[in-house]
């Protein structure tokens, strides 16, 4: 009897497709809520620094004078506290994980001054105010 039940297993295993995916050629599809890394829509950011205060590991550093927002990728624990606390909702949690590396990277984003994006007539008072 065990021969018969085992041949069922053999046939099942022969014709079943592999349980694993061929990883680099077949990419992994992450679910929507996966906490991979933090992204900042820098144009909407007001540099209030709340995300930096809420971060439990101190991975985020905000400089209001220079309009820069930097995150130390390997200190971030992907908890999402900064995303929830941001008043302008410019921080989002992306699904892709941080790329592994040999050194601990710090990503620094600087907000470009607005006159480069706006039309010339409106730029003059804005540029004058920023100078």
């Amino acid at each position: 009897m065990s021969v018969i039940s085992f041949s069922k297993t053999i046939l099942y295993n022969l014709f079943h497709k592999p349980y694993t995916r061929m990883y680099p050629s077949v990419p992994r599809v992450y679910p929507a809520r996966t906490r991979g890394q933090i992204a900042n829509n820098i144009d909407a950011c007001i540099f209030c620094g709340i995300c930096s205060k809420k971060c439990p590991t101190g991975a985020i550093a905000v400089d209001k004078a220079e309009k820069s927002w930097s995150i130390s990728r390997f200190s971030c624990i992907q908890c999402g506290a900064c995303t929830e606390a941001c008043p302008k909702k410019c921080l989002t949690m992306m699904q892709a994980y941080t790329v592994p590396g040999a050194v601990k990277t710090v990503d620094r984003i600087v907000q470009k001054p607005k006159e480069e994006a706006a039309e010339p007539p409106k730029a003059q008072p804005a540029a004058a105010a920023k100078e």
């Binding site: 679910p31 929507a32 809520r33 996966t34 906490r35 439990p56 624990i77 908890c79 999402g80 929830e84």
Partner: protein, 359 residues
């Protein structure tokens, strides 16, 4: 006249998931005494309460251990909520219960895989962990992480599982259940497995009581105590009985844990049917003042969380007494009189989670 020798076991050993050191005193092939030595993963997490305020400490608490992560975070939050007098909404309690039971299933499947690996049955190990992948995928869909969930907060849950998601989870679990019954048949019926597990490491009921053990280790010796019956989270609404066995050997412990997997699937079904609509968190203001002892049933046993707060944003003391810490004296007792080849199996039957033990 047999000679005594001392053989060191660990901290690195193929069978151990985490480092623990035992000095085994042997007479020929029989173990006469075992002296445990811990402290390889001591991170001093209890001292971090002085630096992290009580809201941020949830992230530290859930990183005490990777396998029991959900319940560490949940029990810490429940202890602080009791101190502050915060009433968590019903939906959050049910979500926590579902998370706990899913955590228990994946922990027991991990343990079954490790046990199979310990006696060399690698294909069974891979099959158990393949089942476990389905639970981890469910967790990732619901919370965003496979191992560390960051979904508990003081006042409730940070993310909701809507009813469609819960229904799809119950369907996945139904599909898993048939395969798990096949797995259980191999674990409990296969001749090779039984010969390694039956009669090995017997712990009597009186010994289990005197040594202060907990969890499946204790229930397999006949003591019917399950901390979930005390009624935290949504457990008062669910029907279940503690699973016990009267024999007390390694086979009985495997049997108890396999039956607990099926009990957890049943509990998730019950919770999914009863979950009410509503909020999943309440806002919390102010600082805690007071102390509380919270006990939860982790997959490995009863864990106790003692939180003492003094009215500022830093807690005075946060102490975790984890189940493996309580089971270690039981392990030392069970090792006496066994053969050297049985030592890895016996260490695994207490389900050692050394990162929890040494925080």
């Amino acid at each position: 006249m047999s000679t005594r020798s001392i053989v060191p076991f660990g901290p690195q050993h193929p069978v151990l998931p985490e480092p623990i050191h035992l000095d085994l005193v042997l007479e020929d092939e029989k173990v006469v005494e075992a002296i445990p030595s811990i402290g390889f993963v001591h991170r001093g997490l209890e001292k971090l309460v002085e630096k992290k305020d009580f809201n941020e400490y949830v992230y530290v608490a859930e990183r005490i251990c990777g396998i029991c992560s959900f319940m560490h975070g949940m029990a810490y939050c429940e202890a602080v909520e009791h101190i502050m007098g915060v009433e968590v909404p019903e939906r959050a309690k049910f979500l926590r219960t579902i998370g706990c039971e899913m955590s228990r299933i994946h922990s027991h499947l991990l343990w079954l895989g490790l046990l199979a690996d310990a006696f060399g049955f690698e294909s069974l190990f891979m099959d158990s962990w393949r089942m476990r992948e389905k639970i981890l995928d469910m967790f990732e869909e619901a919370t965003g992480g496979r191992v560390i969930f960051s979904v508990n907060k003081i006042g409730g849950q940070r993310k909701d599982m809507d009813n469609d998601m819960i229904k799809s989870f119950v369907e996945i679990l139904d599909g898993m259940e048939a395969h798990l019954r096949e797995l259980a048949k191999t674990f409990l019926g296969d001749y090779a497995v039984k010969s390694r597990l039956e009669g090995v490491g017997i712990l009597t009921k009186q010994q289990a009581h005197d040594l202060g053990t907990g969890g499946p280790f204790m229930r397999a010796s006949g003591i019917a105590l399950d901390t979930r019956k005390r009624g935290y989270a949504a457990y008062p609404h669910l029907e279940f009985e503690p699973i016990t066995s009267d024999i007390g050997d390694s086979y009985a412990r495997t049997d108890v844990r396999i039956r607990e997997i099926f009990q957890s699937i049943d509990l998730i079904r019950q919770a999914a049917a009863l979950i009410p609509a509503g909020d999943f968190a309440v806002p919390v203001k102010g600082f805690p003042q007071g102390e509380y002892y919270m006990r939860v049933e982790q997959p490995r046993g009863e864990a106790l969380y003692y939180v003492k707060a003094n009215g500022t944003k830093y807690l005075d003391r946060m102490r975790v007494r984890t189940p493996t810490f309580a089971n270690l004296p039981g392990l030392v007792e069970v090792l006496k009189g066994c053969q050297l080849a049985d030592v890895p199996i016996l260490i695994l039957t207490i389900d050692p989670c050394i990162s929890c033990t040494e925080r």
